[in-house]
Amino acid sequence: MRTGVFIVQANEEGLEGVNLHAVELYAANLPHVEKVRNLGVRPRLDPLALAEEIKASGLERVVIAGDSPGFFKPVFTRAMALAGADTDEVRLASFREHGATGMGTPRAESIVACAVYGVPFPLAARPGTTATVPGTLIIGGGVAGIQAALEIADAGKPVYLVERQPTIGGHMAMFDKTFPTLDCAACILTPKMVAVGQHEMIDLMTYSEVEDISGSPGHYKVRVRKKARHVDIEACVACNTCSEVCPRSASSEFDSGIAARKAIYIPFPQAVPNAYVLDEASCLYFESGGEKCGVCAKKCPKECIDLTEKDQIVEFEVGNVVIATGYDVYDATKIERYGYGKFPNVITALEFERITNASGPTGGKIVTKVLRHNKRKKVDEWVLDPEGPPPNRVAIIHCVGSRDAQHNPYCSRVCCMYSLKFAHLVREKLPEATCYEFYIDMRAFGKGYEEFAERIQAEGTYVVRGRTARIVEENGQMVLKGEDIVQDRMVDMPVDLVILAVGLVPARGSDRLAAMLGIARDEDGWFSELDYNSDPTDTERGGVFVAGACQAPKDIPDTVAQASAVAAGVLKSVNTGRGLDSRADLSLSEIEARARSLARV
């Protein structure tokens, strides 16, 4: 089949590490290749001229190679049609999509080879299998990690679940209700957390971080640092005595910093493991170098506090690694115009989750902060008092940090829906309050989401199309400025409470993890999957999987589905004793040979 290879670049930047000239030379030497031409960057292609070219060279197959060759496929298809050739013979050699970023020129060449042979790259570049040991490391104990762990452990296979925080549960444990069914997050999550805590196949390591992973698919050596918790998990009965006597407090991570916890504390009552933890950073004993305090250890009725405990390093071997590190929320202080950090009643979504949560610091009462005199510190402070004034006007601002070239260009996928949920919660608890949603596009795409959005509007929440520009203070009153696009007017509205629907960003430490495992991240920092369409949870490295929001923002059902999907990947390898090898390790000649043999079939 007379084949022409056209190299074309869809992005100005091009592809890092791919030498297009080398690819040209390589392609020219492939069998049947009659013509290789580099069309340059974002060319305006004339179908008629292309058709002439195809005809002139008598091409029967056209391969478009480049970073995103799909952008040019229609014009080539049209040219093929005009030239009277088989339009099915327009093949794509997609460098970016098949991982040439980071994998370099040989990968690009192998992609071209597959296209020239007319064989799908993922098929030709499907790695072989390798012996796999049964253990699985799961990094991250949020809902994705929990789901994957239970799935694998329920099959009777050993799991090491490593979580940075002192408890598993992740963000979901902090939520009040979940959209669109409004069921309580704790009700559905805590049973799973308990199951993880009690599962005999799960070695749960909380307050721990993965320090290093080495080895190869099927045999990864893992080193985990178990931070000194200073509390014996097994013995602790969560009686709170230590916390009661602890003189030091710090802001509670679990309550998004809107409430205090002690230096020795339990993140929340249903924490798993249900044991306290001593935070050295805020502890007086450690601050004074062991000179002062230590009261907790003395008062602990079970004598399970060990102030001398040191970090521990644990090493083990696993066959598979699941990354389920989730996300962090966008730092709202980076967007000065919303006055987060300046106005006490501009809060983030996670803070609102805790305020509206019945187990949160206000017992679920939605209130605004009030100015109080702190006698001890002798300063006036804005405090969250359950008896504080409820807000009359609540504004919820969508896309905070998302869909913005200056912050995160991507959509965070969950904010529209959780914002609508917030409106519902506000209106449910404060029927007198007026609630406004300021949005750009209302992305209610999932099952039951559109209906939910309609319901929220029917409940009397005002949805205003128009991103909020500013929160300012005028005469001691917060005022929101924006444009109401559909109603064609400016919004200049006093508000009492502003909730920022902050977007999602990759979790802290994702870069380190990616480097450790040798897997790629996309331009936004999310972990790259092996193939966008057909392998959304695999990576270039065999035995390394990604699940949930660490791959890209995701809501709970999609996260859970990915977690179970990862379990499939893990289980099929531990069940057969052989898992997939790394695609990254396949050589150009191997892939080319595979493609050649498949082409004959």
Binding site: L45, V90, P409, R413, F445, V560, A568, N575
Partner: protein, 573 residues
């Protein structure tokens, strides 16, 4: 009934309980009760010495029932069950009284708290006397799997399962595998080749020695329950038909969707105006390299209309989830094939929510696609253009972002038809005994934490048949279903919790009050015997049927009427 020998243990939980509750007094009160042989209090019952104390007493005093008054059973019930099992007792012969979370931690008057702790312990005492020995059971799990639907979803699930070592029967109604994606040229938003995707899957499926592909086939019946279904499949070949039957342990339903019939939206003139086409028809043009009007003209103006049949009061209220990105893809493709063509994209909200979506949307803007927004339920109207116009059609839109009533020139209009449940989804639902929502999509076991399981054990749903979704989300679900099944089949059998409901066949009158109450379809009705039965492997022990059974034929193991009555009597003593 022979004399019971009960041991009662009151935990002090350090001072957590003892600080408020006078544990000695509780012990004293309990020790006077009939049947109580041993009554003790200890600092930490959950500690090793505490557990050993119980074990020693069981052996020494021949205890046959244990009451532990301590913390919440949610915390330590497994601990004590394990302990008494070690001592040779049935693990269900222990009952806990929650005198910490529900007593000492919430009350501060010692007298009142002690009274309450005593009452709660009495409740446990009365209850434990009625406990029955229970055993966990296991049912054999057939490792073979039936996958219904040979699209991307079904093929992915089949491959995953087969790779995991299971035998898979992949049943497809049509003559070829591939489903709806096989009709697509490129996928959004990375403009990858859909054909490569399908080719790779089909090749792997066909080569796989553990996958039996049955095309032109339909499942005609499915009998049995999880681990043990018998499937009957009818295959119709050109002139003849054959029937095959096989045993499977689990079923994946991946029946996908059908496209919305655009002619139902009258004001779009689909079927009447020749150059109003659907998205799938446009895909055909793309694949043929001929984007042109029916008259063979290269269009100068192309308009794309979103949400055809979706997000509408009249048709489907839901969002079809993939059309926005597909529409953006078309905008790119039109611009690619016909560089001087003007593309208008008429949308409601741009659902560009996934990885790479927003960037794709932005590129569409950069390529000068004209995005025009209309309000939900205020559909554009397409009409033929007049002789003076330089276009074939004009689309009238109340454009929301400008507030203007406008007309868009168009030579070719692409209707982004939504996804719809297949017309046979009702039959499929009945076949595999799962439910459908108001739109005809299959209902998952839990919309959040169990998106691929159904309330019928052993039946999984994946992909669009549960609700619209794009390829990566479909693939994730297909694999999720496979993962769930692999986890179960690897064990070879299903462990059944000892706590479930059972029907006394002698007492069952076959009234069928209970039948529809079970959310898991665990209750089957035998029409010949006129009796209902609970499939214990499927029962989740909620007890809804037990409470409703008017003839008292259903017993909730470990939550029997008599146990609860006894506890009521106990706590009110």
């Amino acid at each position: 009934m022979e004399e019971q020998r009960i041991g009662v243990y009151v935990c002090q939980c350090g001072t957590n309980i003892a600080k408020v509750v006078n544990c000695e007094e509780v012990v004293r009160a309990l020790s006077e009760q009939p049947g109580v042989v041993v009554a003790k209090t200890y600092k930490y019952m959950c500690s090793n010495p505490g557990q050993e104390m119980i074990i020693a007493d069981i052996q020494e005093h021949g205890l046959d029932r244990i009451v532990v008054a301590a913390c919440s059973p949610r915390m330590h019930e497994p601990t004590f069950r394990k302990a008494i099992q070690t001592a040779g007792l049935n693990p269900y012969f222990v009952e806990m009284a929650n005198i910490r979370e529900q007593c000492s931690w919430v009350h501060d008057d010692p007298q009142v708290a002690t009274d309450k702790a005593r009452a709660l312990t009495f409740g446990a005492l009365h209850r434990v006397a009625k406990h029955e020995p229970l055993e966990r059971m296991s049912v054999e799990m057939c490792p073979d799997v039936l996958v219904i639907g040979g699209g991307v979803c079904g093929m992915t699930a089949a491959l995953e399962l087969a790779d995991g070592g299971n035998h898979v029967y992949l049943v497809e109604r049509e003559g070829t595998l591939g489903g709806n994606v096989a009709r697509v040229d490129l996928t959004a938003p990375y403009l990858d080749s859909a054909r490569d995707l399908i080719t790779a899957l089909v090749t792997r499926v066909e080569e796989h020695k553990r996958i039996d592909v049955l095309v032109h086939s339909q499942v005609s019946s499915l009998e049995g329950f999880v681990g043990n279904f018998t499937a009957t499949v009818e295959t119709i070949w050109g002139d003849g038909a054959s029937v095959s039957q096989f045993r499977v342990g689990n079923v994946v339903v991946a029946t996908g969707y059908k496209e919305f019939d655009a002619s139902r939206v009258v004001h779009y003139g689909y079927g009447k105006l020749p150059n109003v086409i659907t998205s799938f028809e446009f895909e055909k043009m793309l694949r043929a390299g001929r984007i042109q009007t029916k008259e063979g003209k290269i269009p100068q103006y192309v308009a794309i209309i979103h949400c055809v049949g979706s997000r509408s009061k009249e048709f489907h209220t839901y969002c079809s989830r993939v059309c926005c990105m597909t529409a953006l893809k078309y905008a790119h493709e039109v611009k690619s094939a016909i560089p001087n063509c003007y593309v208008s994209d008429v949308y409601i909200d741009m659902h560009a929510f996934g990885k790479g979506h927003e960037d794709f949307y932005k590129r569409g803007s950069e390529a000068k696609t004209l995005f025009l927004m209309y309000a939900k339920n205020d559909h554009p109207v397409i009409r033929k253009a007049g002789p003076g116009d330089d276009c074939e059609m004009l689309i009238e839109v109340n454009e929301k972002l400008s507030g203007e009533q406008i007309e868009i020139p168009a030579d070719l209009v692409i209707l982004m038809v939504g996804m719809e449940a297949r017309e046979d989804s009702d039959a499929v639902a009945r076949l595999v005994n799962i439910s459908r929502d108001k739109d005809g999509w299959f209902i998952e076991s839990h919309p959040k934490l169990d998106p691929v399981a159904t309330t019928t054990d052993g039946i999984y749903i994946a992909g669009v048949c549960a609700a619209p979704k794009d390829i990566p989300d479909t693939v994730a679900q297909a694999r999720a279903a496979a993962g769930r099944i692999l986890a179960k089949t690897i064990r070879g059998s299903i462990e059944i919790d000892a706590v479930f409901a059972e029907i006394d066949e002698d007492k069952c009158s076959g009234c069928r009050v209970c039948n529809a109450l079970c959310p898991y379809s665990a209750i089957t009705y035998d029409a010949s015997k006129k009796k209902s039965t609970v499939i214990s492997a499927v029962c989740k022990a909620c007890g809804a049927c037990v409470a409703a059974c008017p003839s008292g034929a259903i017993k909730a193991r470990h939550f029997t009427d008599s146990q609860i009555f006894a506890q009521i009597e106990g706590v009110l003593t």
